[in-house]
Point group: C3
Chain length 317, copies 3
């Protein structure tokens, strides 16, 4: 693996899920693999799970870890090519990346969507600079349009929780929120589910369809009850409008996932990437109930990251 | 030891002091003990000594260390059970704790008193959530009502500085401050001194008596001169009113510890947990004088933490 | 080496450059040297290169690393001797240093010029407290008037890039900026160049002469074109007025380094300590052009720091 920013960087999805599950059995099986090598974890945004799970994964592989909270600890970054830097920005992102090239064997970066310019976000205005200027492998810790380490952890979690022979029905359902949230987790989950051996359905209110570049031919149903029927897995996540970018069109029905809605399903397991707004996106009873595999998902973030870092280390001398 | 949030978690105080002093002699005697295990150090508040000494202690034991400045690096936390999270809070503390359960073998947390609601603080509204939801051992890095790693370091320091046969007289004296400070260090020192073989006295102005749940039958004297007479150790610390919670009733006398006040004592050693407001809580001459063992106390924070982490590791498979 | 805050702490400059270049060849040649020892990296200001390169250098030597973002993570510091601390400051710098003495084998600190009081900055009001109160070796990660780890990296870079027998002509040129910047990098580069076997010239507009305590008998030319003629190395850096402290007297000519200005030189290599304001201090074409050795300079920060830490470890039992 030469980089990891989307599912297309994975050669064989079943193989990497298998590898991650082996790592879960024995996390310290490759403690010498990263010796003398350095991973830079660059955070342009907040992080709890990604921050900690990436550190654990890297430490399990013997990597040196450099964590940089870029905004607070370093310099205000300029992102525009050709900018005359006579304003508030102190360092150009491409210079910061070139320096990281000198210091790191792997650069991992979190750079959320700005939610202001659709064009900037769709074009991954920040991650694309890392992909362009990095001379070492780049790992996305969530970018404007994707969250691939989360999606791999999701695939691992579904695999662990499905032992039947037929395909499970996996439903990605939109959930309410109070402010405009990026589509990254939804997009990414859609992309990865298309590669999994599952029956995949998306449900969201009118006006909230995800970018068709990610949903492709996935069935999108605007009636949540209909979509959840017989579901084996329900992935709960909010996102704002893609068409009317970052808008929040009015939704009359209550899309919060509740135990009542679960009755209609095939005792569906409930998933969420966290952090979650309790009693807004889903109810306390669901979050704390037996159907939730949300913390297991969080744990699998370690093995998702470790499998990816390990694969990348295979390609570093 | 299964957790460490107060003196009642210590089975044998003299034993753990002895262990800490052995660690001080040879801090690298157990470098393999924590191998492959992870401690999460979660800071909801500022920290210098606790932050650094805990990291050193953990590294000396071979533990992986994850440090999380929760407020700046992760998500705005919700603390209310059953909250409809449609406001500023992004992640519920119990979800953050459940995730830490997945990632850490020990969770250490600093969560100061809010100083707004007496009930919340007395009930340890934050630490209690860790005690309730953590599935791994919890270590307090100072909570609303206690600072046990500090108190253990204080016991170590008194032990190192007292070679006589009779009991030393230890006086905890209130000191002036400019804003309302929590009672945690005072409470905790009282609790621990009651377990030590010392003559223990508290002195503070009228209106500043600590919570009797902590002081119990300790003698409280409202005249500082009288209390300091013949003292062998003086512990200087400010706290705000407990009765009229977080208030600062007027104090007419000058309670700042000075060299003049030391004359009345048995060449008392002066202690303080730091940070200290010089020339407010105590004078420069005391801080920089020969009677101060304050930096030694700070150093013993390492061995206090290391003894506790080591004891806890004994109970982790 | 007992401390490292200026070039005068280096016994033999050629020897330490040679050592740094050996480390660059084999960065992991001394991984046991720092075992069981701790370096504290204390940041009172922003940092990217210094932060990461110091961590890598320390890890390469097997040192434990404690990184402290003092302002955000610890307590608001008081710097005035004898202060009655009844205001916003919570901990006196000398107490923080005494605690670091207890916890660290080496204390490294970044403390920029305040740019308000010439006297405070010239007297190194913060670094001097570390030099006075530290009981372990102090390393400057840039102080009010000097940036010696940068200067050593600069010497390493010049050495790597000059294979001819005659002395290279090295020109330190002032560059435009939008706000008052400290003289530290300029001062420091001047000091170190005076120890190197080079022909050294400084060029800056009238009113921008550096402190003569640093420039000594170095030729200062106020005409940039004249100074750059036949240059082999050009070091680009802004600084504000020293005489009229922190002022920015009007400059009519355009001092931004461009390709056109390079034509006049001996195919000069271009250097900058970073971060750089593109198209203000120097043009994109220079930054991204073949003459730039700026990223190489950044990389050499690792070996500069590692050589210094290694030399200091020779003096620690």
């Amino acid at each position: 693996m030469k980089k990891f920013t989307s599912v297309s960087d994975v050669e064989n999805l079943q193989e990497i899920i298998k590898k991650a599950l082996q790592i879960k059995e024995n996390p310290l099986s490759e403690t010498e693999k990263g010796k003398g090598k350095t991973i830079g974890l660059v955070f342009l945004n907040s992080s709890l799970r990604t921050r900690l799970s990436s550190q654990i994964a890297a430490q399990n592989l013997g990597l040196n870890v450099l964590t940089l909270n870029a905004a607070q600890e370093a310099w205000n970054l300029e992102f525009a090519d050709g900018a005359v830097m006579n304003g508030d920005t102190v360092e150009h992102i491409k210079d910061a990346i070139e320096v990281l090239n000198q210091y790191c064997d792997i650069i991992a970066v979190r750079c959320f969507a700005g939610m202001k310019s659709k064009e900037d976000d769709v074009n991954e205005s920040i991650l694309s600079q890392f992909e362009q200027h990095a001379k070492v492998p780049v790992v996305s810790l969530e970018s404007a349009t994707r969250h691939p380490l989360q999606s791999l952890a999701d695939c691992i979690t579904i695999t662990e929780n499905w032992k039947k022979e037929h395909k499970p029905k996996v439903v990605l359902t939109w959930a309410p929120h109070i402010k405009p949230i990026a589509q990254a987790v939804g997009n990414s989950f859609a992309e990865w589910m298309q590669e999994m051996d599952v029956e995949f359905v998306i449900t969201n209110p009118e006006g909230y369809d995800l970018d068709p570049a990610f949903t492709k031919d996935t069935k999108v149903i605007h009636n949540q009850d209909e979509a959840l029927k017989d579901a084996d897995f329900i992935y709960v996540k909010n996102w704002s409008s893609f068409d009317d970018y970052a808008a929040m069109p009015e939704v009359k029905e209550n899309w919060m996932l509740t135990n009542e809605k679960l009755e209609n399903t095939n005792q569906a397991k409930v998933m969420h990437c966290l952090p979650v707004r309790r009693n807004v996106e889903l109810s306390d009873e669901v979050m704390d109930g037996e159907n939730s595999i949300i913390y297991q998902q969080a744990k699998n973030r370690i093995f998702s990251a470790q499998a990816v870092f390990s694969e990348i280390l295979n390609n570093i001398k």
